[in-house]
Amino acid sequence: MSLRITLATAARVLAQLRHDPRTIVMMLAVPSLLISLLWWVYDGGRLFDVVGPALLAIFPFLVMFLVTSIATLRERTSGTLERLLAMPTGKLDFLLGYAVAFGSVALVQAGATAAVAVGLLDMQTAGPAWILVVVAVFDALLGVALGLFVSAFASTEFQVVQFMPALILPQFLLCGLLVPRDELPDVLGAVSDVLPLSYAVDAMRDVQAATDPAVAGDVLVVVGFSVALLALGAATLRRRTP
């Protein structure tokens, strides 16, 4: 593993993004617009305070999953991944480069969304709002890790986009946003317990409800899933191919 190559890769991914201002605007503005829409839907009522933080967990996960899975699929199909691996690039350099790049985008994205939710829409959280941003960045990294892994199982962008409803929507349905997790049917509750997004939403909920939120445990689970997915992703990066 080489810090030079990791940072060069992160800088390169960000440079690619800079050439695509429309995507940048969408990544940064859409979550803020959606959370404003949600505020309007609930007419600024108490339910907004409950659902808002959960959405802050879901946006970065979803957006970074999509962006990463398509970006790495392109690397796999365009030959640039093969070229990088034939050069001194380590698999970890490649994976961490993406994680650093999209993790920093997520930081800006979550910061903007939280600022809109708390500052403009007066979302009430018992705990400090900055923890929302920290948790959101870890959720983004989870999305990056899942996207890197999943891109190995798609050969076209059509296929990779289908992983969104297949892998993200069930997590969305079971993460406690629609029905609290402890009120789910037993089987679904158990499934919900092994899905990473559940822990991401739990952490956000905690910030919303507790003045001194204990998010470390939930965040650790999210980090654990991310590391495991990155390891699986590394196994799909092959220097020699058939």
Partner: protein, 257 residues
């Protein structure tokens, strides 16, 4: 230097001056055996042309030399090390047939990134842009370039740093004749500077620009010689005729053992 020395079984070319040395190489892709019991020697400091019709195994052989091809048997040594070894990764340049560069970056951004990956000096970026004559487009997005320009960006990437072996898969496809001549001039200058070049082509007239020719057909070695020797052996006037003659001889040889 005796370039015309033919290869013979048990060829004892020393590993030290072999840029590439393949023995019994066997590559299976899907249900097809692309290369079988394949031997090859490429001496350091030579410009070798790898010629043969499409589907003859040129790209697969190049991939095996670079170390990105899964190999079913045999061995390939590059610069005295097993192909794909870690120490070779900044000593071997490789250009695939399809340009492998980032369309959403400028030429300069692409090369700057690959230079950093290779640990090559920053000044290399301008050098290689000049070498492939893309100076006037350096800050253009690669996706806006023509196909030929894009493949020159890919070529420039392989010239970063100081590669000792450069493997180029059909680098002149889609280029106009003037550029082709200029690129072959560049290839010769690179070899004069001490590197080894292995260039594949399915255009036979490019054979005349190579010191040594390796002719492939259906995954087996048809000939490995200099052009003058090939012409003499086959009694033909150009590389294409010689190639056809060799195929004919090989086929006859098969029918009447």
């Amino acid at each position: 230097m005796n370039l015309s020395a033919g290869r013979s079984p048990g060829d004892t070319s020393r590993a030290a001056d072999a840029a590439v040395r393949a023995r019994g190489l066997r590559v299976v892709r899907g249900a097809r055996t692309v290369l079988d019991d394949f031997d090859l020697d490429v001496r350091q400091g030579t410009l070798t042309g790898l010629l043969g019709p499409s589907g003859s195994g040129k790209s697969t052989l190049m991939r095996a030399i670079v170390g990105v091809q899964r190999v079913a048997g045999g061995a390939v040594d590059v610069l005295g090390r097993p192909a794909g070894a870690k120490v070779l990764r900044d000593r071997v340049g490789y250009v695939t047939q399809e340009p492998a560069v980032y369309g959403d970056l400028t030429i300069r951004q692409n090369l700057r990134y690959f230079a950093r990956v290779l640990g090559a000096p920053r000044s290399d970026v301008d050098r290689v842009i000049d070498q492939v004559q893309l100076g006037s487009h350096a800050d253009h997005l690669v996706s806006r370039l023509s196909g030929g320009q894009r493949s020159r960006v890919s070529l420039a990437t392989a010239l970063l740093g100081t590669p000792e072996l450069i493997v180029l898969d059909e680098p002149t496809v889609g280029l106009d004749p003037v550029l082709r001549v200029e690129l072959w001039g560049l290839f010769h200058r690179i070899v004069e500077a001490g590197a080894t070049l292995l260039v594949s082509s399915h255009v036979m007239d490019e054979a005349e620009r190579c010191e040594r020719l390796v002719l492939l057909r259906e995954g087996s070695l048809l000939a490995d010689d200099t052009l003058p020797n090939l012409l003499e052996r086959t009694g033909t006037g150009d590389a294409e005729q010689a190639f056809l003659k060799l195929i004919e001889q090989a086929d006859n040889g098969m029918r009447t053992p």
